[in-house]
């Protein structure tokens, strides 16, 4: 899948699309997209996945996403809140961090096409 395709799936997953979520979970071990891996880690509450996400994350933006997710999975709400705010100042279009900061895995999921 192209990078645009992956980005699209991530957006759909954030929107609660179960097919998109399933696709991310299925490809989390093989894909080289830090945000997708991070999303899988958050969705499945698997912090270990974040190690690989951090390895493939090269930009500040992606590495910050991984950091926010790690704080989230560690249950440190205060830290998530602070990091997310900092991140969103620099990257206001970062949907995934907004999603994580809004208590991501508690969000309702909906069925839909990929």
């Amino acid at each position: 899948m192209t990078q645009d395709g992956v980005d699209n799936v991530i957006r759909q997953a954030i929107g609660g699309d179960v097919d998109a979520i399933a696709w991310i979970s299925a490809h989390a071990d093989t894909i080289d997209d830090a945000v997708a891996i991070t999303m899988a880690a958050v969705l499945e509450r698997q912090p270990d996945r974040l190690d690989r996400a951090r390895t493939v994350a090269a930009t500040s933006r992606d590495r910050q996403v991984v950091a926010v997710a790690r704080a989230h999975l560690a249950g440190d709400r205060e830290l998530v809140d602070a990091l997310a705010r900092d991140h969103l100042v620099d990257f206001p279009d970062s949907l995934i961090v907004a999603w994580i900061a809004s208590d991501a895995d508690a969000s309702p999921r909906r069925q839909g096409p990929i």
Binding site: A58, S60, R63, A67, L79, D86, H87, V89
Partner: protein, 1017 residues
């Protein structure tokens, strides 16, 4: 209209008509009130000052009676009015002459600095007319008068200096010289007047008189005060010696009048200081009266910011220098930091020389962890010059006699709130502090008024509300609150705030702090990025880490606009925290290893850079990064000795050019750590650099030993390049011992080894040594050949250091060929360039050569002055061997000038040194001159010594020594009545003069002169 004159006997005039004021206390009272005209002076102050010791017995009634008497004398009661517990003289300040001269002095300074010389001169002349004898003569002898009198005397001197400077610039040289002579006779310790006099004499074509004036002031200062001339005097003397064109062109500038405000290294832009007005004024006042002031307070309380702000508010003609000691760990580190801060080339002696006679303020920042060493350096600086003041910041006092301790408390609540408000609104423009008034107060209270903690908290206001910051920090304090802790509450508050700020960072930013913490005294961005990468932060993500940290007030960005560029550093407390956090993460070795590797990489390009047209940039780097290089070496010595050798070999030549004699210790430590397991080539290269540095400080025995070991290593691995280097390095060393033939043979050998190798720089350097040795050995043909080769070789080498030496060697050749004017021109240019580039050791040698050339040209006065400066500079750079050599020549010159006592003194010093050192260049000449003087004084055994010296001189081919020994022996024979022997010896000496003419002149032959006179009779 009332006018009052106090710049002499008290005079009061009303509309031009004189009034009589009773002498004694009434008159003193008038002067006291006049000096504060238009301002109420408190009654108790008047009583204390005017009656001093009797003040306690003096009632206010006594003062009132004097006031009444004064009112009557002034003819109008309303001229002295009483107010709330005080009195005021109702006179416009300009109608008091003391005020008028101060105003004129300020206006004249401005006119002079803006180029209005005529206006400045006229203002000064009219102001000086107001002085009528002793200043404040009618004020009595009370202590209160002293500061007023000093201020007005200073204004008088300033007016004199500005007037004469302005007239000098207007071309009024003739009259000015006479007035300056009178002025220096009245004020002999006023160095600026001497500078003007010397300049005026030079400009009127009286170069010898100018240099003689320098000698006069040197003698006055030495004999009366035990001081050496200050930098302005030494500078103008050097300008004369090298015929600096700027001395002819423009008159003395404002800086020549001691108002160079640009000297120093205070940050041009520093954080705005909030509050602290009273503290700033108090410390400034302390520094007016005390030479050592220590600002003491806990970490984060704002000591450094206050020290910088205070220093910026003060005047120090020779600069304010900020030495940050936060990364110093040893006494040597402290000294080296101060040396680097003041841009001194050389060691501690050079530092003392640098500040001697100057008006300098040095800030020693963060002394607490090296308190004893900082105290030692502070005391040594203060001892070096009465004009030096030292301001320290520390968590504890230095415990030194005479220090003034200022204990700095945290900000009061109002200022703390103001600081938070300013910093927070800088982060977020639309922040409404008023809405969170109470929260801000609570927060500042919780942060205990510590400026650093407040800055860190405020830096978070971009994304957190004030209430959130307060709540989160409050939680943190509760968590960290430990009733059993013995640490001061304040320190816990700071550390808790740093931890809180740190924990809110992204992991990459935390690693950014770790990376910065590996650096001693800051780092350029490239170096930080390199360490960050080793800490697993990819380059693309590292780019903005430092910027984000600066935005959180965790990193300080230093940009002095100089050659070192922008540098990033951590405050001491944050660095300590970051190092702790990195250690907890078990990454400290990874960080320090990356730090060392970065400097090893930088070392790789240092020698090539220093030997190129980019020399200044590379030297500046080696100087600015000294603390980092030392830190990298310290880590390598323990963990990676081969890398330590890479670093010392890379930076070694920069240290040679910088005259960094402490480098021998670094190299030795690296060699010891590397042991026999390191590559032989690396060990040999390090030994060669160590040998060069040792030779340059006179330790020839060690230098020879190290070169011998290096040669063995080079031969063992068959490295021709290294073997060639060993040869010409040894040539450098043996030249110091006067073994010129061997030096020539060694450079020949080195060239033979270089055949087929592309070593343009080394070949050029080798030819320079050949030329120097050949000239010293009086080998004319070899000298010409070597100088031609130097010229040829340097066409492809763009190293300013070598080019300066070429100029000097051409001057030496010209001197050898008796083209003394050419010699002076070449050598003076070389010395001036060396001085400008900061090669002090080289400059010392070239000034010495210049002095010799000037003597050859017949100007012994100028020669004496140049050689004396050379000795001072050689000693300042630790080159004691060079100082001994120059002293031999100074003795020769002073003897020729008939200064027998002075000549004997310097010759005794030189020969004593040579005897202990086992010889040295011109050691035999020194012995000969001393024996000749002893013979003239009929000291027993002198004749035998001369005979032995003559034999040795004949054996070694030192014609100049042979001539002087023959002259002395001839004089001795004449004294004993053996005229025939005397005449024969004189004739032999005359015949040998041809071979010695490049070295001595007939003026040196004082004994020959005496004999000729005796024989003529």
């Amino acid at each position: 209209m009332l006018s009052i004159s106090v710049l002499g006997p008290v005079e009061v005039r009303r509309s031009g008509e004189p009034l009589t004021v009773p002498r004694g206390k009434t008159s003193e009272l008038l002067v006291r009130l006049a000096l504060d005209a238009g301002v109420f002076v408190r009654t108790d102050r008047l009583v204390d000052e005017l009656w001093a010791a009797d003040a306690v017995h003096t009632s206010r009634n006594t003062l009132q009676s004097k006031i009444a008497k004064l009112r009557r004398a002034l003819g109008e009661p309303s001229v002295v009015i009483s107010g709330d517990d005080g009195y005021m003289l109702v006179v416009d300040p300009p109608d008091v002459d003391a005020f008028a001269v101060l105003r004129h002095a300020a206006a004249a300074a401005t006119s002079f600095e803006t180029g209005d010389d005529r206006g400045a001169a006229d203002l000064c002349a009219s102001a000086l007319k107001l002085y009528r004898g002793d200043v404040l003569a009618g004020a009595g002898a009370g202590e209160w008068v002293t500061p007023h009198r000093a201020r007005l005397e200073e204004a008088r001197m300033m007016l004199v200096e500005i007037e004469l400077s302005a007239r000098l610039r207007l071309g009024d040289v003739g009259d000015v010289i006479g007035e300056l002579e009178a002025a220096v006779a009245t004020y002999p310790f006023r160095e600026r007047l001497w500078v003007l006099l010397i300049t005026a004499l030079y400009r009127s074509g009286r170069q010898a008189d100018a240099l003689a004036a320098f000698q006069r002031v040197r003698n006055v200062l030495a004999e009366e005060l035990g001081l050496e001339p200050g930098p302005q005097l030494r500078h103008v003397e050097q300008q004369i010696l090298v015929h600096d064109a700027s001395l002819d062109a423009a008159g003395p500038t404002a800086s020549a009048l001691g108002r160079d405000a640009t000297a120093g290294n205070l940050p041009s832009i520093s954080a705005e200081l909030v509050g602290r007005k009273a503290e700033l004024a108090a410390i400034a006042e302390l520094l007016e009266n005390k030479r050592l002031v220590v600002i003491v307070g806990p970490g984060g309380v704002g000591k450094t910011a206050l020290a910088i702000a205070t220093a910026a508010s003060l005047t120090a003609a020779d600069g304010v220098w900020l030495a940050r000691l936060d990364t110093a760990t040893t006494a040597n580190d402290v000294t080296d930091t101060v040396i680097a801060t003041l841009n001194v080339t050389g060691g501690e002696a050079a530092l003392n020389e640098r500040v001697r006679g100057t008006d300098t303020l040095v800030i020693l920042d963060n002394c607490e962890h090296v308190i004893d060493a900082a105290a030692d350096v502070a005391v040594r600086l203060l001892d070096a010059s009465p004009g030096v003041r030292v301001l320290c910041t520390s968590q504890v006092a230095l415990d030194v006699d005479g220090e003034a301790v200022f204990e700095l408390a945290p900000l009061d609540l109002e200022d703390a709130v103001e600081l938070f408000t300013r910093r927070a609104t800088a982060q977020r423009k639309n922040l409404h502090i008023d809405d969170a008034h109470e929260a801000v107060h609570d927060l500042c209270r919780a942060l205990d008024g510590l400026p650093l903690a407040i800055e860190l908290a405020a830096a978070r206001s971009k994304t957190l509300s004030i209430e959130e910051i307060a709540r989160r920090l409050d939680d943190r304090f509760n968590v960290l609150s430990d009733p059993t802790s013995r640490r001061p509450e304040r320190r816990r508050a700071l550390k808790a705030t740093i931890r809180w700020s740190y924990e809110l960072l992204f992991p990459d930013d935390q690693r950014g702090l770790w990376a910065l913490a590996t650096f001693a005294g800051g780092a350029p961005l490239g170096a930080v990025d390199s360490v960050l990468e080793a800490l697993d932060v990819p380059a693309v993500a590292a780019i903005d880490v430092v910027g984000r940290l600066a935005g959180r007030s965790l990193v300080i960005v230093d940009d002095d606009g100089g050659s070192t560029g922008v540098r990033y550093r951590l405050l001491d407390s944050i660095r300590a925290f970051a190092l702790e956090a990195m250690a907890d993460a078990h990454l400290i070795d990874a960080g320090l290893a990356a730090h060392a590797r970065w400097f090893a990489d930088a070392a790789g390009s240092s020698t090539t850079g220093v030997r190129s047209s980019r020399q200044a940039e590379h030297l500046s780097f080696a100087r600015a990064e000294r603390a980092n290089i030392d830190a990298a070496l310290a880590w390598c010595v323990k963990n990676d000795p081969p890398l330590a050798l890479t670093i010392v070999n890379g930076f070694g030549w920069a240290w040679v050019v910088l005259g960094d004699t402490r480098a021998v210790e670094r190299i030795t430590a690296a060699l010891d750590a590397a042991g026999d397991t390191a590559p032989a080539g690396d060990r040999a290269a390090a030994l060669l650099i160590a040998a060069w540095l040792e030779a340059s400080t006179g330790d020839l025995e060690r230098a020879r030993h190290h070169i011998a070991v290096a040669t063995e290593l080079a031969e063992s691995i068959g490295d021709l390049d290294l073997q060639a280097r060993c040869s010409y390095y040894l040539a450098y060393v043996v030249s110091h011992d006067g073994e010129f033939e061997q030096a020539i043979s060694l450079t020949d050998r080195s060239r033979a080894l270089y055949v087929g190798l592309d070593r343009a720089w080394d070949l050029a350097a080798g030819w320079l040594f050949t030329a120097r040795a050949a000239i010293s050995a009086s080998d004319h043909d070899r000298s010409v050949e070597a100088c031609d080769a130097v010229d040829q070789a340097l066409r492809t080498v763009d190293d300013p250091w070598l080019h300066v030496r070429r100029d000097a060697i051409f001057g030496e050749l010209a001197r050898m060929q008796h083209r003394f004017d050419d010699a002076i021109r070449h050598i003076a240019r070389a010395a001036a360039t060396s001085g400008r580039l900061g090669f002090l050791q080289t400059e010392a040698y070239q000034l010495f050569s210049l002095g010799r050339a000037q003597c050859q040209a017949g100007d012994y006065e100028a020669g004496r002055a140049a050689v004396q400066i050379a000795i001072d500079k050689a000693e300042a750079t630790g080159d004691v061997r060079m100082a001994a050599l120059a002293r031999v020549h100074l003795g020769r010159i002073r003897r020729a000038l008939g200064e027998w006592t002075g000549a004997r003194s310097v010759l005794e010093t030189a020969t004593a040194w040579h005897r202990v050192a086992g010889g040295g260049e011109q050691a035999l000449l020194g012995e000969c001159l001393l024996a000749a003087m002893d013979a003239a004084d009929e000291v027993p055994g002198a004749h035998e010594r001369l005979a032995a010296i003559l034999a040795e001189a004949r054996h070694s081919g030192e014609a100049h020594v042979e001539v002087l020994a023959l002259d002395a022996l001839a004089r001795d024979a004449a004294r004993m009545g053996d005229v025939d022997t005397a005449r024969a010896m004189c004739e032999t000496a005359d015949a040998r003069m041809d071979a010695a003419l490049h070295f001595i002149t007939d003026l040196d032959r004082t004994d020959a002169y005496a004999i000729r006179q005796a024989l003529a009779q």
